[in-house]
Amino acid sequence: MHLPPFESLVEAHAHELHRFLVGLLGPSDAEDCLQETFMSALRAYPRLRHADHLRAWLYTIAQRKATDTVRRRARRPAQALDGVEPAAPPAAEGDDGLWLAVRQLPAKQRVAVVHRFALDLAYAEIGQRMGISEEAARQNVSAGLRRLRKEVTPDDR
């Protein structure tokens, strides 16, 4: 068994995982969540049995940490009520309203939409990362888009 130095994982994947987490959580929580992701990975790292699929492994952890963050957020009443993120700088994202709506999607649709549009992945790859079929990935993305279309009115363009 041969694991590469952990540093190489950070260098290779920090940027894309950050994009992924910004898509799921918004910019204000993404970096903290990214640190939690790498800390958790670092803790478990020496016990891995092989170095295959390290990237998929990191995405699994990131997704779990993002879920934790969402749960924690739900316990913060002020934020749960209005659903906005006070700490998010207005210019941080090009299309705040739309991405806020993405973050309200059911988990699978949300993750699939973020993979598709923030990371620009093909459905086969999305399916692989989510542990579902390519067809299921496609369905989750289109279901997500259908719901977004209903919720995002032309006015907030």
Binding site: P4, E7, H18, P27, Q35, M39, P46, D95, D120
Partner: protein
């Protein structure tokens, strides 16, 4: 409509991650939580960019440019731990002493050494070499004798050639009995530079 939503989703780009700042924060927290087994940093010296690698036990490797840092980190990942991060703070003590040494303010290193990369006779040779003081020289035969096998001077030469912590364990102070410079991991020019710095060779 579909195309428009598509376009808007793609167009909104995430704020860029400041990778350096992120790595600093991550390595600091990893060290605090006892999860940083090897920390490394690149250090600018008169002999080029040195890579300093430390563990909680001490300095484990110091490498010259061109020695293939990637391969060395891979080796550390395999032999010590894959929990390796670039963490300049953790290497500060060693780097300060290197700076003082190169500027003539320091003649001996006071850093603990992690000897896990060396085994057996090689370790004995390197420990004997570590005792040769600044400005003094020794021979391959002599360090072999100090390590307990006077006739194993070739093996002593090999041990010095694979010294994982040159400069700090001063293998540059070991020369041929006949007065020849012998060899050096970082190349003979660097050996000459160090011997000049220590006043052994005329500058």
């Amino acid at each position: 409509m579909t195309d428009d939503l598509d376009r808007r989703l793609r167009a909104s780009s995430a704020p860029a991650l400041d990778l350096n700042r992120f790595q600093d924060a991550l390595s600091r927290r990893a060290a605090d939580e006892g999860l940083l087994d090897v920390a490394y940093a690149v250090h600018d010296s008169p002999l080029g960019l040195l890579t300093v690698m430390v563990t909680p036990r001490g300095l484990v490797r110091l490498s010259y440019p061109g020695e293939g840092v990637e391969a060395q980190l891979e080796e550390l990942a395999e032999r010590i731990s894959p929990r390796i991060l670039e963490a300049p703070e953790r290497t500060d003590a060693v780097r300060r002493q290197l700076e003082d040494y190169f500027s003539g303010r320091r003649t001996s290193f006071e850093v603990p050494i992690d000897w896990r990369l060396v085994r057996g006779f090689a370790g004995d040779v390197l420990r004997a070499t570590a005792r040769i003081p600044f400005g003094a020289i020794s021979t391959y035969r002599d360090v072999a004798a100090q390590a307990g096998s006077p006739r194993a001077y070739r093996a002593a030469g090999n041990a010095l050639g694979s010294n994982p912590v040159p400069i700090v364990v001063p293998c540059h102070r070991v020369l041929h009995a006949g007065g020849g410079l012998g060899g050096y991991t970082g190349g003979l020019d660097r050996k000459r530079y160090l011997l000049r710095l220590e006043g052994v060779l005329a500058s």
